[in-house]
Amino acid sequence: MSKHEKTEQFTLTRRKLISRFGALSGILLAGCDTQFYKPPINRGGLIGIADTLTMASQRMLMSNQQLVQEHDVSEITKHFPVWNQSDPEDEEYQRLKAGNYVEWRLPITGLVNNPIYLFLLKT
């Protein structure tokens, strides 16, 4: 009885080992087969190698992960930096600004089920 148990244990561990090895080689093969781990353009040379390493390691670490750091609602920034231009001379923008943006609309159109126009609520 005890001998039988022992053999069973042995087969189980070996099976585990084999399946693990299989899974590992599967991951490695997938890396070779698909374009998933490779940069879209190979720039060649040392930079090309570094590109591939960066892309592959990022994909390996970050696939099936959240894309950005999650923040609490209370952490929404109070700073809204403006790059290059804070008051464009554009005619339409100036007209909307003069009307305190009441007429401003954000169109949600195209390949959507419910095309709508969003507007700012008066506060």
């Binding site: 930079i47 970050m62 999650e70």
Partner: protein
């Protein structure tokens, strides 16, 4: 006075020499490309928020280079490409060095400070010798002195890992999978600032490293690091022993 006797030793292993020069090249490119990236955004902030106009703790503008001028001087695209490339070279080369030298016992023999070396009296005499710019002679010149050992260990196991971690903390994608890392620094801007501060400490190390090389004999030191042969000038009293 007697002409000091000279003997030759094998100073650095082939692995140490090759890794040293690959590291020297990659550190040069990392610094150069790092400066190029920094110039494209020449301000440093503390905390989570940072943008042009936000209170900065360092502004290149205060040092006579305007934002526009710095942007012209810098090249973020070139800089990022080379920063990533040589970061890989640096990390792979560093790992080869560490694994090889951990396997070879020479690492412990050369780098690990002994109890006698860590005594206050010995430390004092070594600091004095360094302050007078006097090179070690005889058998003492054949091995690293205590300040050298401590500096190398500090650079390898404190500054280099810190550069890598604070570099990772600036990667938006990496902080997405490991927000703990960015919380550890208290924000990406802090990580960026500390990355720059640490790089300045490394520049200081390189300057002192080169100065020490000149003090100890530039030709001999360079030869030791290129072909491995190193000349030991023996003191006259040691010859008598």
């Amino acid at each position: 006075m007697l002409e000091p006797n000279k003997s030759w030793i094998h100073r650095h292993t082939a692995n140490a020499r090759i890794c040293h020069w690959i590291m020297a090249v990659s550190v040069f490119y990392l610094l150069y490309s790092g400066i190029m990236i920094f110039l494209h955004f020449p301000e440093l902030y503390w905390g989570k928020v940072g943008f042009q106009g936000y209170p900065a703790i360092f502004k290149l503008e205060d040092w006579g280079i305007s934002w526009e001028r710095a942007e012209e001087l810098g090249d973020r695209r070139w800089g990022r490409n080379y920063h990533y490339t040589f970061a890989w070279v640096f990390v792979i080369n560093g790992l080869i060095y560490l694994i090889w030298n951990s396997w070879q016992k020479s690492f412990y023999r050369k780098m690990l400070p002994t109890k006698q070396e860590l005594s206050i009296a010995h430390l004092k005499s070594e600091v004095k010798r360094h302050a007078k710019f006097r090179a070690a002679k005889g058998s003492a010149a054949a091995k690293y002195n205590i300040l050298q050992k401590l500096t190398y260990l500090f650079v390898m196991f404190v500054l280099f890992p810190f550069m890598i971690i604070s570099g990772f903390a600036q990667m938006p994608a990496f902080t997405a999978i490991s927000p703990e890392l960015i919380d550890l620094f208290g924000g990406r801007q802090t990580a960026r600032t500390l990355h720059v501060v640490c790089s300045l400490i490394l520049v200081l190390f390189v300057v002192v490293h080169l100065l020490q090389m000149v003090v100890a004999g530039a030709l001999n030191q360079l030869r030791g690091m290129i072909i491995g042969k190193y000349e030991i000038a023996q003191e006259s009293n040691e010859v008598a022993q």
